[in-house]
Amino acid sequence: MNSNFRQPDTASDVPHRASDGSQFWRSLEELEGDDAFFVALRREFPEYANRLTDGATRRQFLQLMGASLALAGMQGCVEQPQEKIVPFVQAPEQIVPGKPLYYSTAMTHDGAGIGLLAESHMGRPVKIEGNPLHPAVPEIMSAAAETNRLRFGASDTFAQASVLSLYDPDRSQTVLRDGQISTWDAFAAELQATLSTLAEAGGRGLRILTETVVSPTFADQLRQLVELYPNAAWHQYEPINHDNELLGSRLAFDADVQTIYHVEAADVIVSLDADFLADGPMHLQQARGFANRRRVDSTGAASAASMNRLYVVESSLTVTGAAADHRLPLAPRAVAAFSLRLAQALGLQLEASESAENATSVGDQIPQEWLDAVAADLQQARGRGLVIAGRAQPPFVHAIAHWINATLGNVPGSVEYVEPIAARPELQLDSLRDLVNSMRAGEVHALVILAGNPLYNAPADFHFAAALENVPLTVHLSQYEDETSARCRWHIPELHFLESWSDTRAGDGTVSIVQPLVAPLRSGKSLHEVLATLLGNFAASSYEIVRSYWRSRLEAQSTEANSDVVWQQALHDGIVANTGSPAVQPTIRGDFAAVLGRQLSLSLPAGEGISVVFRPDPSLWDGRFANNGWLQELPRPLTTLTWDNAALMAPATADALQVKNGNVIEIIVEQTAISIPVLITPGQSANVVTLHLGYGRERAGRIGNSVGTNVYPLRSSGAMWHAEGAEIRATGRTHKLALTQHHHVMEGRNLVRAGTLTEFQEHPEHPAFMFEGHVPAEDVSMYPEHKYDGYKWGMVINQAACIGCNACVVACQAENNVPIVGKGQVLNSREMHWLRIDHYYRGSPENPEHYHQPMLCQHCELAPCEPVCPVAATTHSSEGLNEMTYNRCIGTRYCSNNCPYKVRRFNFLDYNRELRQDAVLQLASNPDVTVRSRGVMEKCTFCVQRISAARITAEKEDRKIRDGEVVTACQAACPTEAIVFGDLNDAGSRVRQESASALNYSVLGELNTRPRTTYLAVVRNPNPALR
């Protein structure tokens, strides 16, 4: 892997590279029709283990009818077609054919940026990694010896999957006017005309609707716009926003602040319905911080102090809840009540009001000992405690969290406040309400919607579609021609962040420059360009806009001479130095108790019956990723549901309603009804139904259309997160839910080793819970041992650290060209993921303990799969890898039968047919990994392509591969460093240390398979008081 480019001098040409790149791509577009060229392009990465077209087309079927049995023989001898080589006309600098380059960029998600490294092969990005220099991104193997190795940072599912969206064939490609293909110039002309009329009135009637804006450049453009048209207005709306946090901070401090949690600093963490391990601008750092405090070493003593304790009070099961030491499932309003009670227990004085009464009455389902234990723990951990409120909780819960953290002196230890990172912090719900009202009132003459899909995801009671009818000129910029585009006069294709310039801010305000990896694959415009046209500049390119903004800004502030140097450094590092938001020390307002009292009455909706809880979907978020096959097929954490959303409910609730998995129920909230299948989820709070947003899209694309159920119709401005008093009735219909795991009970098998910290400390050297059930026998083989001198690759997975966030699964899919198979195939257990996260629970179905067990090829030294292969298609390498040679495989599937871990995946059908047919989609494939054909087995290879790349580099330098030089895709993505990979023969390697731990064990070790992938047991830290 090349890393030289990371020195500034080479990075200094980045803009040139882009232009060269674009030239290359423009020539591509010229040649678009030319097959030969695409053949040549395809040459860039491997195709199929055999080149047969395994088609099921009717024509082929007829052709084959005659041949029948004889056919098999004939197919064998198909000769390779002539391949072409197409060199550059002018070789671009930096690009060495056949070697990847890494460029730093950033992705904006949920109103904050996450820094990324994009791996580019011959100018096409194929893999995303986290940028370790970015404040929101924890580094992987940071401890490893500092070599010229490439440093990776963690990332999340959305970042990993973003590269697939870039090549999505369904992305819109042309400007549309009323659905008819039009041109940018036509648009510009019409816009100009309208603007000129609006100009007199100072732009009155011009409205801009954006999503949360954090981009400094964009903010600057908006500022200019408002200067130009003083009477124009800019609104922000995202269905999943931070309104409650904002209100909460105003409530507590009477100020807008951005809260930063230093989870690692906290000994006791209380989550009030906060999914802080997977949600929030800094969730990767939070997850890392949490995990770092869950590791215990064999010296039990030391670990006692080091290990934190997590209490989670939540109404809907989350990965954070699954990771908790103590989890309390409550109805939403009970969560609010709990926080109030907690505050009171910690000394908050509320004058007795009916609202307080209300709170207490609602809270009667809260176990008192729980409350006491948490309060006591927090008290005891003064200054080292942390209370986090979830975005779904009403503002006063956030206020209470602030209050507790302040009162217990957790600020600045584990909580820190900085100025808001948003360009204009505001209550987005109100912002949208204003817009809709003026639309209804006919005050809006031109509405420019820059990204976002309000027609699909605006609160139902706003009737956005109807309001839109009153607007003469509507413009919608979006990557897909979606629901909103369909109702707007103009649709402008939006560029993907990997193909346009921009900038963004991390959760702490640090700015990253978003630089493109390729010139646009499809003609489109960026936010900046469209806004520039509003400012009268029709020709400006994103690069010029962003560059000029930063030139002026850097020249303004940068003391040292050349702003270009700073700019180059920023491009290279992926962050602009010291741009973080300034810290603030807000103080709890004096009249806190009073204000709070007033809030309570509004915030604690009474009401009986079933509460419906709306949550962002772990895969599709608010629906924007609906057309991303990787995310659609990604088993949702804990439920392993794919290709659908469902009404998640507790077993008890399901019994009460007399429904089973897959039964379609009708949920009625205020006369609005939706039909959605049931999925029973142990751990879900009683009488609470969780609905995930983002499904039932009508115009998402071929993949996302009409997958799942659209639950936005139930979501009104009054009930953005919780709807009380829902009515549910069974419809008698059923719907097949594609789950990748049907059975979450261990059937008394000792598959996951788990114990408590106390148990561990009794015998840190050999904890009792490590020796329950079967213990692998020592050399029971009649054959002699195989010796592995040289490298001995192995992996250790720390189950205590794994939070089941799925980032590794998508990373693996992206790195290894793992195909998408579709719902039908998943229903028949044919999903292809090389790495899956098994989930088991222990204990009562009401509130069980959850365990994640990432399961991938264990690379057994005595692999059962190998001796049964008749053609030696799967064998052992001299470094102990269990190798799968696709092109030798004839597909007996015996290896899969004989694999106790069932990690082998088989191409039952031609899963790459579409890939082969779509020249652009092909560009997403990793050229270092074979794209498998029909009828061959495949499985995790420990990213052998990365090992081999590292080996070649090392060999060329006449040295051994250093620890941390080979980082598998899953390891690189993991925010908690739960996955460690390396050479077991290297005494200094981290994997060696972890494999020596007293908590290390092999799954099914008693079968004497001698796995190279071993696990570290789960150690939890429950509060003795709650035993």
């Binding site: 057994c860 030294e861 001796p867 030696a872 052992h876």
Partner: protein
């Protein structure tokens, strides 16, 4: 009456097996050695009566078996130890216990083939054309009649005397068999 040179032999037809065996003994006792008997099914003691005892089939099969056994083992040893030694599931390259089944099958296969081919070869089959097939009544040799034939190549053969000898043995009929 044709010259001896054109003779294949004289053929006597009998009604049942016992007569044939008896006749065979007589002819053999009379000193004829190039004599052949034909029956629609194997007849106990007939071949012995003609002085034919050892078939050497067992030897053929034994040799075949040994060849099969060795080649089976050699094939596996060569491919997995010499040609491309691979670490398969941590087993040693020469994991002989796993080689036993194929060795056994190869043994049986070659042995069986040599049995059949050996039998055909020693019987001088296939031989779709044969002088006897020219004799109409010989059809019944494969159905319900028994034949004894003194071949012309026997040194003692004489068209007249041999014929008379056979006629004395009470056959249904005696025929000359032309070449």
């Amino acid at each position: 009456m044709t010259a001896p040179a054109n003779y294949f032999g004289v053929l006597a037809e009998f009604a049942d097996a016992d007569e044939l065996v008896a006749a065979a003994r007589e002819v053999h006792a009379a000193g004829y050695r190039e004599v052949e008997a034909y029956s629609p099914m194997p007849v106990e003691g007939l071949a012995e009566a003609l002085g034919f005892r050892r078939t050497r089939m067992r030897l053929v099969v034994l040799v075949g078996g040994i060849i099969g056994c060795l080649s089976g083992w050699a094939l596996q040893y060569y491919t997995s130890v010499i040609a491309y030694p691979l670490n398969v599931g941590g087993r040693p390259v020469n994991s002989w216990p796993s080689f036993v089944p194929v060795v056994f099958e190869m043994t049986v296969l070659v042995a069986a083939l040599s049995a059949v081919l050996g039998m055909l070869a020693m019987n001088g089959l296939p031989r779709p054309h044969h002088p006897l097939f020219g004799i109409p009544q010989f059809d019944r040799a494969s159905q319900d009649r028994f034949f004894l034939c003194i071949l012309a190549r026997d040194p003692m053969f004489h068209p007249m005397s041999s014929r008379q000898l056979l006629e004395r043995l009470g056959p249904v009929e005696v025929t000359d068999v032309p070449q």
